[in-house]
């Protein structure tokens, strides 16, 4: 008992004193919901090759990436973010937490890897879901996370919209009707991608789960009874990373944070990232994994919607197209 009290006391002082003491350094990587396993694998690999002084601990926090961005605005002490959406880093930049030019600070617009919304269906694909058109059919029940709290959900919403715009050649009435049917088919909006997966897998709700291709492949590899369907067209989902300067400067962790993010771009880092079924930009790594990643025609947000800021304003802001579809 006394040992526990002592432990508790040590922890209390540790928490109170924060990171003032040298030697023992901690950094916090605040990340999106379904990246848990990925960074659980990245962290030891990074520590393995890290040669800084003292002891380094990397802490993780995962939730819907917009939820995470807001938590940082409200004081969550993140040294760096590994998000799944540009918008969520932009919010941090607008509020002075992240440098304005954050996209120029790391290669590839600061996105070390990418993925795309794909479908996971139950074994045998009983509903015959092959592409976006099938998701609006009567009687097909769909699961994807809440676009207001999850970058994952926003990609899905925009991917469906981009597909519909192409399919119906910009006929707004048809596009609206498709989106209404599609949103009407959604059974549950969880706040993050992982919650959506749990709903689909553990609770057995829904015919189709829409989430990042990486998550669909990871799940189907581990759990029998599911099939992955990659639609012929989808939306490019970039995974931006940034140092949260305001916090890192305070805590003196900028250098470590930069080293951590740089590591994601190394061949070793890219191999780990790809082993969790994310697509990467390193060509040799991609070639080695070509059989897992079918060719997909990828729309980009910039082409289809102008910019993330415009997409955000038109579709996900309060009273935007998403709100209106839900209210009707």
């Amino acid at each position: 008992m006394y040992r526990h009290l002592a432990l508790a006391a040590t922890m209390a002082t540790g928490l109170a004193a924060g990171h003032a003491q040298a030697q023992q350094t901690e950094i916090l990587n605040v990340s999106y919901d379904i990246a848990r396993e990925l960074y659980a694998a990245i962290n030891p690999a990074f520590l393995e090759q890290w040669d800084g002084e003292g002891e380094l601990t990397i802490n993780q926090s995962h939730a819907g990436s917009s939820t995470q961005a807001r938590a940082i605005l409200q004081g969550l002490q993140a040294d760096l973010v590994t998000f799944n959406q540009v918008t969520d880093v932009n919010i941090l930049a607008e509020n002075g937490f992240v440098a304005e030019d954050w996209q120029d600070r790391f290669p590839n617009n600061a996105s070390p890897y990418y993925s795309l919304p794909a479908f996971m269906v139950r074994e045998g694909n009983p509903q015959g879901v092959e592409g976006w058109a099938d998701l609006a059919r009567d009687g097909v029940s769909v699961i994807f996370p809440n676009p207001k709290t999850s970058g994952n959900g926003r990609y899905t919403y925009l991917a469906a919209l981009a597909w519909a715009e192409e399919e119906f050649d910009g006929n707004e009435e048809e596009v609206q009707s498709y989106m209404r049917d599609f949103i009407g088919n959604v059974e549950v909006f969880d706040t993050g991608g992982r919650g959506a997966t749990t709903t689909f897998v553990e609770r057995g709700i829904g015919d189709v789960l829409i989430t990042f291709e990486a998550e669909t492949l990871n799940i189907s590899e581990e759990t029998p009874g599911y099939e992955v369907v990659v639609p012929a067209q989808s939306l490019l989902a970039e995974f931006p990373v940034a140092i949260v300067d305001r916090v890192a400067e305070n805590r003196g962790t900028e250098e470590i944070a930069r080293a951590y993010l740089d590591f994601l771009y190394t061949t070793e880092g890219q191999e780990i990232v790809a082993s969790f079924n994310n697509r990467v930009n390193d060509e040799s790594v991609m070639e080695a994994n070509a059989d897992r990643f079918p060719e997909v025609e990828l729309f980009t947000v910039e082409e289809e919607f102008g910019s993330w800021a415009e997409a955000q304003e038109a579709h996900f802001a309060s009273g935007g197209s998403y709100d209106q579809l839900l209210r009707n």
Binding site: H4, N59, H62, G75, E202, T223
Partner: protein, 268 residues
Amino acid sequence: MMARAVLIALALAFSVLFIVLPVAAIFTRAFADGPGAWIAAVTEPETLAAIRLTVLTALIVVPVNIVFGLAAAWAIARFRFPGRRALLVLIEVPFAISPIIAGLCFLLVYGAYGPVGGALQPLGIQLMFNLTGIVLVSLFVTCPFVMREVLPALSVSGEDEEHAALTLGASGWQVFRLVTLPNITWPLVYGAILATARAIGEFGAVSVVSGAIRGQTMTLPLQIELLYNDYNTTAAFAAATVLALLALVTLVLRGIVDAIQPARGATP
């Protein structure tokens, strides 16, 4: 006689169906993969950290709640002052408030965008999304427990002995320690047990103000949700057994307190 048998059968059926079986299910699922898996799950570093944080929270919250509960009960039972009834109602209000709403209220005021949190931020003081936030909401949800148990005992025990002691020259502190406290020991212990159980187990309010940092601001009830959502069902149930055991200990302690002091105002 018929009625007796039927009623007892109904009562037992209800409690087995609704109370015993759920707890049995926790233990069955936790040990589904054998005791080795249970030990591995409970000693996993993140779960251990969650246990530590939960214990630490209770170690801070319960003593504060005891001091507050004693002070409030003393003031309300022994003195008449304007606003006394209002004070009593305010202390009881947390009982009627959804934990989520409690969390929301704290964010609105003590969060970085709230009046208090915003004013403290330039000073580098942060109240939410860390241990302070968890402690603050835990204080809120446990607020009435000690006061509620002590107040009736204090009202019943009367002031005569205290007056006598004062007349005999005892100091205020001596009166409290030697005369008052012995009369309210068991209600105090009982209230503290309830407050501990609640501080350890609070989920909704803590989930709003915790930063959800793995191994750092995850209390055990939050860690259970996290493990459960990670399809780590066995580990989630293993962590749940720890809390279920604590709940059972609470009940045993309650039984002991009851046995020692049978006349207790029975309210949860």
